[in-house]
């Protein structure tokens, strides 16, 4: 039997009614069908060791990025099609401290909602002038900034007539491996939000809102680009000791 959007909507509503309001997605969230066999059933084992390696993490530097990496519209000979945007914000830890000099990576579909990936075969055009990969290091205030084009929504095969809301994938490092975060940034007012089991896997509506960027007119550039602001807060503890030079 083909699963319809109505089936998925019902499952989401049932889970939202009974599940605790979680700030992270439930790993066991059946409306997102791929999660069913890919989540542990045993409880996670807490680690309290103050010397755990995970309280530190990998470091990156000027050799790991080039200045062009932060502008996804200038990676090919021509200009990509689509709505030119900038996305900027700050990366903070749970205590509000900026995460400085760390690696931020993004990837996204093109304006038509197509990824340059062999497994994305839906009939939307590839853009020869857009790949959709960006990197940068955060500055002294934890700030990142990318210039790109607004990605399109796209269909996927979770159920019949399943569509992902437009989103940009983010990969962020903190000062500790415990703070590692891979997530997705969404655009304000997208009508697809209630239908998307990936977004709805976060059962606390206030937490879902934290995945949505804000349009910021002050970040828009006349005759050039529209600006979005999205701050990221990393979960997880970091080492309280500081090694010299870090």
């Amino acid at each position: 039997m083909t699963l319809t959007q109505a089936d998925i909507d019902r499952e989401i509503a049932e889970l939202h009614a009974v599940a605790p309001k979680s700030g992270h997605p439930l790993r066991d969230f059946a409306p997102y069908r791929s999660s069913v066999l890919r989540h542990p059933k045993q409880p996670l084992v807490p680690v309290k060791d103050p010397e755990a390696a995970e309280l530190t993490g990998p470091v990156f530097g000027v050799t790991d990025v080039t200045p062009l990496d932060a502008d996804l519209t200038r990676r090919h000979v021509g200009e990509p099609l689509g709505e030119r945007i900038t996305v900027e914000g700050r990366i903070l830890d749970r205590d509000g401290r900026p995460v400085r000099g760390q690696l931020v990576e993004i990837w996204q579909a093109n304006a038509s909602g197509r990824y340059p990936h062999q497994r994305d075969d839906h009939p939307a055009p590839l853009d020869p002038n857009f790949t959709g990969v960006g990197r940068c290091l955060t500055d002294e205030e934890g700030r990142y900034k990318f210039t790109t084009i607004k990605p399109g929504p796209y269909p996927w095969r979770n159920h019949r007539n399943a569509w992902r809301p437009a989103h940009i994938h983010f990969s962020v490092f903190g000062t500790a491996f415990t703070q590692r975060l891979v997530t997705q940034m969404y655009f304000p007012g997208d009508p697809l939000f209630p239908y998307d089991p990936v977004l709805q896997s976060v059962t606390d509506p206030a937490a879902r809102d934290r995945l949505v960027a804000a349009y910021d007119h002050d970040l828009s550039v006349p005759e050039w680009s529209l600006g979005y602001r999205w701050d990221i807060v990393l979960d997880g503890p970091a080492a309280t000791w500081m090694e010299e030079g870090r």
Binding site: T63, D69, H169, A207
Partner: protein, 176 residues
């Protein structure tokens, strides 16, 4: 306290963005660790991404930049220069759900692993122990072996990750 930004799945399409040349080779001349990632039906997962973080052989967790060292002319990744130990690796599983890591034995005895995959909404942490460690004795009975790599021959270790079901890998929580 600030409220954290929720995780979301890495999805199926990270392959042109996150993996980088040399990501599976933290260092040469040391050990090789390899294995499969399996789902709850025992099938290999071909679209998982593993990240590794570890101490150097002396136990230092200082790391060094340069895992993705770039050619300033072309922008392409030329990779680690082999002098500094960055301690960071990133490996996508292949079509058979298999991964390989080349590195040095960490001074503290374990390699930290962060698991991402399509279908996994929030990453998972585990550890590869290369030798017995008192921490393993604190784990629920019968599960410690899931964190202990098997030495297949000198310098070659096997470590499978099972996300669910029989022999499910012990996953760790650092957030609380």
């Amino acid at each position: 306290m600030n409220r954290p930004t929720p995780s979301q799945t890495v999805g199926p399409f990270y392959g042109y963005a996150l993996p980088f040349p040399g990501g599976e080779e933290i260092a040469t001349g040391g050990i090789t660790v390899h294995g499969h990632v399996y789902d709850g039906a025992g099938d290999p997962i071909p679209d998982a991404l593993l990240e590794f973080w570890q101490a150097d052989p002396s136990g230092s967790l200082k790391g060094a930049p340069g895992s993705l060292r770039r050619d300033p002319v072309t922008g392409r990744v030329v990779g680690r220069h082999g002098v500094d130990f960055t301690g960071f690796g990133r490996v996508p599983t292949d079509a058979d759900g298999h991964w390989t890591l080349r590195t040095l034995v960490p001074g503290n005895g374990y390699i930290s692993v962060c698991v991402f995959a399509r279908g996994l909404l929030h990453h998972l942490f585990t550890r590869i122990y290369l030798r017995h460690d008192p921490f393993l004795d604190t784990l629920p009975a019968g599960r410690a072996r899931t964190l202990l790599a098997a030495e297949e021959r000198p310098g070659l270790y096997r470590f499978d990750i099972r996300l669910q079901g029989e022999g499910e890998t012990v996953f760790l929580d650092f957030t609380s």
